[in-house]
Amino acid sequence: MNNALILMSENAIDRIQGLGDAKLQLSDPDYWSSVGIIALTGILVVFLILAILIFIFWLMGTIFKAVDKSKNARAEAKKKAEAEKNAASVQAVQTEQAEQAEAEEESSDEEIVAVISAAIAAYTEQGFTIKSIRKHTSGRSAWSTAGISENTRPF
């Protein structure tokens, strides 16, 4: 559509451009129609392209929303089941925790256990069991490990 517009005015615009000097261009009988066509084509093409993009991303958006909905429904059902499972496993952790506490100098703070199991639950989104939690003592600190992996990672 826009190509047709461009073609229609092409000869006149090329001719006017060939005149070079601005004063000569102005004296061309087709000057104003060409100027009008350029401005009109310009704004129409901009709107046309952005309208096409709107349509495509609107379509994409509705598809994704529909997919998300069905996914969410499934995920919710799964979550419920998991929540029950998790509750059981956390209890198991705490009992195990209590048994091993003295032997390995573990952190017996219930809050820390809750935070760690919550973090793992958020990260894995699956059922799991924590068998033991031990304090990390030897080796590099987390910062220096991060620094080393940053500097030694291949391209």
Partner: protein
């Protein structure tokens, strides 16, 4: 003694003072004004400072850093050789072309001539767009595709100014060719790299003044836009609160740059260098697998290109191009382009407000004139003024980034018709 005076005289003759004219003085003073704007007023200092310094360097005579005569096909034409076989001999015939002789540029050019090649050959603006793409989050636009319309409406300023520049010809006080009129009009796109890209192709002699005007007005967005926005909207409209945007998935964000590139490049191939590279940068970011490249594109590469671009664009502002009535008209027309673009965006925003059942705040329309993220911040500020609990920023980012695509498309259209 005679040898000494001779040496001294020849030293004076080869110094800048010998060739110093009043035009040089005026241009150097102008560069001081730009230094003031950049350093004290902090108008887009990252570009304004290099532009001002380029302007200073180029207007000190005999430095040989930049040669305007090398960049004009009239004074440096290219003669294309044609080889004709004549028995055992080969005759060479030269035909004068309309392009310039890059061989001579490489042979005779100075430092800034070499760096200017990147502007002339349209290398720098797309590379800046690469960094911009890698920094831009198109999420708000994907969440609300209707924002594209506002980004398109705000380009109205470009085409209005194109008509305006041509009408100015009629009055006889200015004489702009169609190419010059289009280059001035693109200031309304409020996008520096796009303006430089189009101007370097259509009207390189105006590059200095157009770049200075474009970047000054972009810095002045918080001053220019609010009065127009307030004049065109009612208190009730400005206080409209918009619902939260939906969350956009990673897949959508990855598909977006690919889809935009394919569609825009198919319809307006001449917009591909800008839009394509912009989207390439965005894909690198959204894919999340090219962290190192994203870091380079948004930091080192972009900074290097900004320095080269600024200093060479400033260098094109030699007295014979800059000290003319045209510069004053460019500054006036550029301001008109900005104002009309803002007004078009707000007016379409008003229309969408009515159609949507008063759900869309028309203030986000003004953000359609790219100038990311300044224009979106202005929308946010104006909305919060009416109702302090109103947060329009993310809603305004949609039209804002759509404006970048819109002005690149507008530049592509002008290029394909007039180029």
């Amino acid at each position: 003694m005679e040898i000494f005076t001779d040496t001294l005289r020849s030293l004076i003759d080869t110094s800048g003072f010998a060739a110093f004219g009043w035009q040089n003085g005026v241009m150097i003073l102008l560069s001081f004004v730009l230094f003031y704007l950049a350093i004290v007023k902090q108008y887009e200092p990252l570009l304004m400072l290099p532009i001002a310094f380029g302007m200073l360097l180029t207007n000190i005579p005999l430095t040989g850093l930049y040669h305007p005569e090398l960049w004009d096909p009239a004074t440096n034409p290219y003669f294309a050789p044609e080889y004709i076989e004549d028995g055992a001999n080969i005759l060479v015939q030269f035909t004068k072309e309309t392009s310039l002789d890059y061989g001579r540029v490489l042979h005779d050019g100075g430092l800034l001539d070499m760096l200017y090649l990147g502007v002339k050959l349209q290398i720098y603006p797309p590379l800046i767009f690469l960094g911009i793409g890698a920094m831009t989050d198109f999420g708000p636009l994907i969440a609300n595709p209707k924002s594209f319309l506002l980004g398109a409406a705000a380009q109205g300023g470009i085409f209005f100014t194109f008509l305006g520049a041509c009408m100015l010809n009629m009055t006889g006080i200015a004489d702009f060719t169609l190419k010059e009129a289009a280059s001035i009009a693109i200031i309304g796109g409020a996008d520096g790299p796009t303006a430089i890209y189009l101007t370097s192709k259509l009207a390189p002699q105006l590059l200095g003044s157009i770049a200075v005007a474009a970047y000054s007005y972009m810095a002045l967005v918080p001053v220019i836009q609010p009065p127009i926005m307030r004049a065109l909207t009612t208190k009730k409209e400005r206080a409209v609160k918009m619902g939260q945007l939906r969350e956009v998935s990673k897949l959508e964000k990855v598909v977006f740059p690919i889809a935009v590139t394919v569609i825009v490049s198919l319809v307006v191939p001449s917009a591909a260098p800008l839009v394509g590279i912009l989207m390439f940068g965005n894909l690198m970011k959204e894919s999340g697998v090219c962290d190192r490249l994203v870091k380079t594109a948004t930091n080192e590469l972009m900074n290097i290109i900004t320095i080269f671009l600024g200093v060479t664009v400033g260098a094109t502002a030699v007295a014979e191009n800059f000290l003319s009535w045209k510069t004053i008209f460019i500054i006036i027309l550029g301001l008109i382009a900005f104002c009309v673009g803002t007004a078009c965006g707000v007016l379409l925003g008003k229309l969408m407000y009515l159609i949507s059942g008063k759900k869309i705040n028309p203030l986000i329309g003004s953000a359609g004139v790219s100038a990311v993220p300044m224009a979106a911040r202005v929308s946010q500020k104006e909305g919060a003024r009416e109702n302090p609990s109103n947060f329009l920023l993310m809603h305004a980012m949609g039209p804002n980034v759509a404006g970048v695509i819109g002005s690149a498309v507008a530049a592509g259209v002008l290029l394909s018709i007039l180029g």
